[in-house]
Symmetry: C2
Subunit: 420 residues, 2 copies
């Protein structure tokens, strides 16, 4: 029976369907469609045996099944201790910032991003993001009524410190600088740009913010940090950089992409006590702790070394898939049609820029033609703060197998030719 309309809250009124829900619905209706859109991981390499062995080990330890009991809001201490050591080792740096007390385990790093934004921003506030940035984070901001403003890209494809200064000065001139609450960066194989930030780039960003008197909370997303192909990108996290010492720092990481998305375990590290505590208090209201069992499984696999062993294989596997998609696109000759991309050094994506006039956005003729041709991509305009270009796309090589990747590339190239 039909019900009365409800006078929803501000958040309720802001809550819109995900921008790619149409694409997702199309994909569900047509299983022969090949999706280069979804950021899923490779199902073949999911750690079936490793997870099973960990569960069997937990169940035969002879101890109580505490791993099936509630955990804490902050998350399993043993896993936080591991993460503390590992991050400190990755950064080649030791400081109180890495104390396990500063870590929280969340329902994917997404939840930690959400908590941070809840604590820091009211509707109408502003967050600076890279150009492009993670489109699910941009949606999260929109859902909370937060305005994203893009930091321009500089001449060497860096996140431009002087461009950021211009944005800040414009906000000052407009009398809106008080609404600026945080900066969001992805330093490793960013989704979708695949770009990594150099140490000097990161230092220059800190210096401009300091210059402008804005020691704002800074969010650094390391979701793809472990998924390099050959060698780890040399920059440490901002936690290890003295240039960022005066800033409230949040670092985000995850076990989803580098281990198993189905365990949905991410984490945040925060070196600002009040910020960390408030995020935890809100997490207490939201769920008083993420699922404890996946955390216990992860503790087993990180402690017995299977996590790192699996990662080695995963890196090779994704490297191979990236080369395959990259190679197929080259072979299809789309470079000559004015499509370009950087060969990534890690992550799960290719980021393509097409001819300047071309519109690949979700309502475009190009996008419809791609769906008709049986291939999906993430329209690049979704990855920019309002006003960004419309001629880009994100292609994921995570989930499709080799043959399907090749076929998807061929289908996409045909559409590109048709629109050239």
């Amino acid at each position: 029976m039909s019900k009365h309309p409800i006078p929803f809250s501000t958040l309720g009124r802001l809550a819109d369907p995900p921008v790619i829900s149409n694409l997702m619905a199309v994909a569900l209706e047509n299983p022969s469609l090949l999706s280069l859109a979804a950021g899923f991981t490779n199902t073949q390499t999911l750690p079936k045996e490793t997870v099973r062995d960990a569960v069997v080990q937990l169940s035969t330890s002879g101890k109580e099944a505490e791993y099936l009991q509630y955990g804490t809001t902050q998350g399993r201490l043993g896993l936080r201790k591991f993460l503390s050591k590992r991050l400190s080792w990755q950064d080649q740096h030791q400081s109180p910032a890495y104390h396990p007390h500063n870590f929280m385990l969340t329902n994917g790093s997404q939840q930690a991003l959400y908590l941070a934004m809840q604590v820091l921003c009211d509707p109408g506030d502003i967050v600076l993001v890279e150009s492009p940035s993670y489109f699910v984070f941009l949606e999260l901001l929109k859902g909370l009524g937060i305005e994203a403003i893009g930091i321009p890209v500089g001449p060497t494809n860096e996140t431009d410190p002087e461009g950021m200064r211009d944005v800040i000065r414009k906000l000052k001139a407009e009398g809106r600088i008080e609404r600026l609450k945080a900066v969001y960066l992805q330093a490793w194989y960013a989704n979708p740009s695949t770009r990594s930030l150099t140490r000097s780039n990161l230092a220059a960003l800190a210096s401009v913010l300091e210059d402008e008197g804005l020691e704002l909370p800074v969010l650094e997303d390391g979701a793809y940090r472990d998924l390099y192909f050959d060698e780890a990108h040399p920059a440490p996290s901002i936690l290890a950089m003295p240039e960022w010492d005066a800033f409230p720092r949040l670092y985000f990481g995850t076990f989803t992409k580098p281990f198993a998305t189905g365990l949905k375990c991410g984490f945040a590290v925060c070196d600002h006590e009040a910020l960390r505590d408030k995020m935890l208090h809100i997490k207490g209201h939201q769920d008083f702790g993420s699922a404890h069992f996946p955390q216990a499984i992860l503790q087993v696999v990180v402690e017995n070394g299977s996590y790192d062993k699996l990662l080695e294989g995963l890196r090779k596997s994704y490297f191979g898939k990236m080369q395959l998609l990259h190679g197929e696109l080259l072979e299809e000759g789309i470079e000559e049609l004015d499509w370009s991309w950087d060969m990534p050094e890690g992550g799960l994506y290719l980021w393509l820029t097409g001819p300047e006039h071309l519109d690949t956005s979700i309502e475009s003729e190009f996008c419809k033609a791609a769906v008709d041709a049986g291939v999906l991509y993430v329209p690049g305009d979704l990855c920019f703060a309002p006003g960004g270009p419309k001629n880009c796309m994100r292609l994921s090589f995570g989930v499709l197998n080799g043959d399907d990747l090749r076929e998807a590339a061929r289908r996409l190239a045909k559409v590109m030719r048709d629109f050239s």
Copy 2:
């Protein structure tokens, strides 16, 4: 190094430590302390083997390890289908309200409660709750800046419809009725009152709301519904009651208490399309789906019947523990000291009311004496909207074993004697 203070958001400023965090800290520091406070489940009866067998079965199915891949924001369809059938069977009722499409799987039912409140209420809005009500829900409301107002208890310990009418008329007189956004009820073995609502009580509540022109969203929490001791409480959910047909209805359930808290899987059913969709959109921003692996495990155990088999044992186990705590308190003679309680028919708690003048609140001398005597309880005042009584307490028999339950009861009775 010390950081600048951050100008937190409205939510950030509202985020306070959990009210029982002091008690929790005391418990951590003193392991010899016996806690009748924590709502944990019995560690001995946690389904170690069942979970292990389900994981082994999943891993040897020969199919792809899709259960380790991302799930959907709404949750695993197979499990939602089971829940749809089961709830319809429990309610002995069939209607479109039970369609799997109306179900969402969440990080405990707590997350579903949080999502509902985010969608329905702005800071300053009002929700009607029972007296007493679930203290973690009351904290959630406080954290979102929502005011809880208690519905009085009637002469037969029911949630009093005419008392609710008085509250509503008072809000109308104060010009605040527009801020009233929802009603929250617990119909089965409520936490902490242990009370169940009869069908006629529920119908009368609907009738008063309708009378007063308030077809508000109603939240019915069935967290303990499966945990009856002997026979299931006969009332169906509000989804099955025509008296509630005109209201947007939300029903909340969970696998945490009746199966394993560590899997942290709860659910909500919502028969108001826009409300359900908006909750899902916000969940999309919060975590785009709870952990998929626990959902897959649960689907195995509900489909192969081990869930219901385990429940049988669990009911007996908790019935025994309830009788033990109940019996020990009787034996200690605290009834003669003016302490009273109803013997519950399900759930994990006893709800004790003490002498009228006694203050058992968290800062009270009584509470301090209990901690000194080595026993913890949940102070009852935390379970009331502001202005409630201070002479109650919630005792949980979920987690302690028999000997510890007896000893905890003896310690508590001694304090009661000292304060009589």
